[in-house]
């Protein structure tokens, strides 16, 4: 393991950049919250930045927790309907439903 002489630029965010991320995440951040949320996130990014000190060029990324241990089968099943129609039960918890359809604000004029 080789430690790089100096970690690359840190990933710290400005409040404007945070607003962009919040838009991507579809979470409203009010102007009053903005500074506090940015500061807390930058604390977390300071922690994450520790990873940059490590040279990992020759390492394979690990996306499944058991792939170091075993070859994982890709299970397939016959292309058959196995579930009954339970639309009503599933729509019972929806905020707005009409005639079996989920209602959302108009997206087309």
């Amino acid at each position: 393991m080789i430690l790089l002489p100096r970690p690359p630029a840190s990933m710290s965010l400005t409040p404007d950049q945070l607003q962009r991320i919040a838009l991507l995440a579809r979470i409203e951040v009010s102007p009053e919250e903005l500074r506090g949320v940015t500061d807390r996130l930058n604390q977390v990014f300071g922690l994450i930045d520790q990873l940059q000190a490590l040279d990992t060029q020759s390492i394979e990324p690990m996306s499944h927790p058991l792939d170091a241990h075993m070859t994982l089968p890709q299970r397939l099943r016959p292309d058959q309907v196995t579930e009954p129609d339970r639309r009503e039960a599933y729509q019972k918890g929806a905020p707005a439903v009409e005639q079996g359809l989920y209602l959302v604000p108009k997206v087309l004029e």
Binding site: A25, R26, L41, Q43, G46, L47, P65, H69, G93, A94
Partner: protein
């Protein structure tokens, strides 16, 4: 009955010394007496529990009872239940009623166990203190001014206070083991893929794993027998022969090699924790086990790796909460995008939003390679550290948590301090490995200390056996907390 093991309760039910209705009522009374103080349960429905107990009694009278028939079990409110609302500790799901049962719930129902209620938890299992719950913090039964740990804090506190003989939990970065340690009970996170995640509300899918919380290793084994097993509805569920975890509890300790990672005994561990853990290791040595010094050199990087991978997966998993198909929807909004943004701003608490934002950022264009891919590579280094260690030892032991239970509010303003508290429980799930925590003593304040035992893939029986042997020689696990006297 309140302090009995599951096998003792099972024997009492079989001998007709008590009915399931009577037993369930005892625990419901205990919950009614203590929940105002401890807040361990979000939902209790006495009529529902007693109806299930009656069914269990009928089943027993037909001669169809198994070891868990009639035994009341509390469920972390992350497991979907048809009969009881499922909130995941969030305002987003505060009124949610699931149209189906989680696989784990189906398994306990099939075994004839009684649903005792749904336990409090950190919102969407994101937290280490149970302070992020929309339903208020859970209090530690050993000291009500302190946290019980998290995220399965309600389940751990319920078992510790003897409000439930056993409970289910889930562990992503320590959410079973850490609260078990901080409340003086036992908790097991199984090998990834052993327990189906179907109907278990997703946080970080490559890490999440359900497991039991109970008073003893023997009880954990009995519960794991019910929980483990293949389920086609979880694409990561493993097809392997079922094991009887109760059969191998009387394990031979002589010659067992116990790995002690230097990184788990360094600076930053409270002296009371170190002392209790070292004494427990000495007990194993006195039984003929051999302590082996090992190294897990990337331990310090596990926390930053986890805080890339878990938020990345969470940001994707939690995108389903959009105010359309289920859960909370904001009242006023200008258009669809505004509806999403307000719904999620109102429905999620601060810690959940923080993690979604971190995850969105590390997955965004230009940062994916630098952070997400980088974290996946370091994740492999952590798994390789364990593989090298298990070439030299049978089990790894160390503290579950560097500290005992901390006061409410002590870390809630500083996310990084809160995250670092999980340094010893985060590595195992990153590698997909099993880990358990059992009580091994008390610190100078009388707060319980947890001994963590980690094993190789599918070594649950060996880990439970070692824990069981220790519990036959010690009584830490039988002590009832002072805020909830028996």
């Amino acid at each position: 009955m309140l302090n009995s093991s599951l096998s003792e309760l099972s024997a009492a039910l079989a001998a007709k010394q008590v009915s399931s209705v009577e037993l369930t009522r005892q625990f419901l009374d205990r919950i009614r007496g203590l929940n105002g103080k401890l807040n361990a349960f979000i939902t209790v429905d006495e009529a529902h529990s007693l109806a299930q107990a009656r069914v269990a009694d009928e089943r027993r009278s037909r001669g169809e009872a198994g070891p868990l028939t009639g035994i009341p079990i509390a469920h972390k409110d992350i497991f979907c239940t048809r009969g009881l609302r499922t909130t995941c500790g969030s305002r987003m799901l505060a009124g949610y009623s699931s149209p189906y049962d989680a696989h784990v719930i189906e398994r306990f129902d099939a075994a004839g166990a009684v649903q005792l209620g749904k336990t409090n938890m950190d919102e969407f299992a994101m937290g280490s203190s149970n302070e992020t719950s929309h339903f208020g913090p859970v209090r530690n039964p050993w000291d009500a001014a302190r946290v019980p740990g998290g995220s399965s804090g309600g389940s751990a506190a319920a078992v510790a206070a003897r409000m439930a003989p056993a409970a289910t939990g889930t562990d992503t970065g320590g959410s079973i083991r850490q609260p078990a340690a901080l409340t003086g009970v036992c908790g097991l996170k199984p090998t990834y893929g052993l327990v189906s995640r179907y109907g278990m509300i997703a946080f970080a899918s490559s890490l999440d794993q359900g497991g039991p919380i109970a008073k003893s290793a023997g009880d954990l084994a009995l519960l794991l027998n019910a929980m483990a097993g293949f389920d086609a509805r979880d694409s990561t569920s493993l097809e392997r022969p079922n094991e009887d975890y109760c059969r191998s509890l009387e394990i031979e300790l002589k010659g067992m090699r116990i790995g002690l990672p230097g990184e788990y005994f360094g600076a930053g561990i409270e002296p009371g924790v170190r002392k209790a853990v070292e004494e427990a290791v000495r007990w194993f040595e006195s039984q003929g086990a051999k302590a082996v010094e090992i190294t897990l050199p990337n331990t310090a990087l596990a926390v930053p790796v986890y805080y890339v991978i878990a938020p990345a997966e969470a940001s994707s998993n939690l995108s389903r909460f959009d105010g359309v198909r289920y859960g909370h929807r904001a009242q006023g909004y200008a258009d669809l995008s505004d509806m999403y943004r307000r719904t999620r701003a109102e429905g999620f608490g601060a810690e959940v939003k923080r993690r979604i934002l971190v995850g969105t950022y590390v997955l965004s264009h230009g940062y994916y390679d630098a952070y997400y891919l980088k974290a996946q590579k370091v994740r492999r280094l952590i798994a390789q550290d364990f593989a090298a260690a298990f070439a030299r030892c049978d089990l790894i032991m160390g503290p579950t948590s560097p500290s005992t239970a901390f006061p409410l509010g002590a870390k809630s303003d500083d996310p990084v301090q809160m995250y670092l508290n999980d340094i010893f429980t985060i590595p195992a799930p990153l590698a997909g490995l099993p880990g358990l925590s059992i009580p091994c003593g008390f610190d100078a304040n009388g707060l319980p200390v947890g001994l963590q035992i980690m094993g190789n893939y599918f070594a649950e029986a060996k880990m439970l056996g070692a824990a069981h042997r220790y519990q036959q020689a010690t009584d830490w696990h039988l002590r009832a907390p002072r805020e909830a006297p028996l």
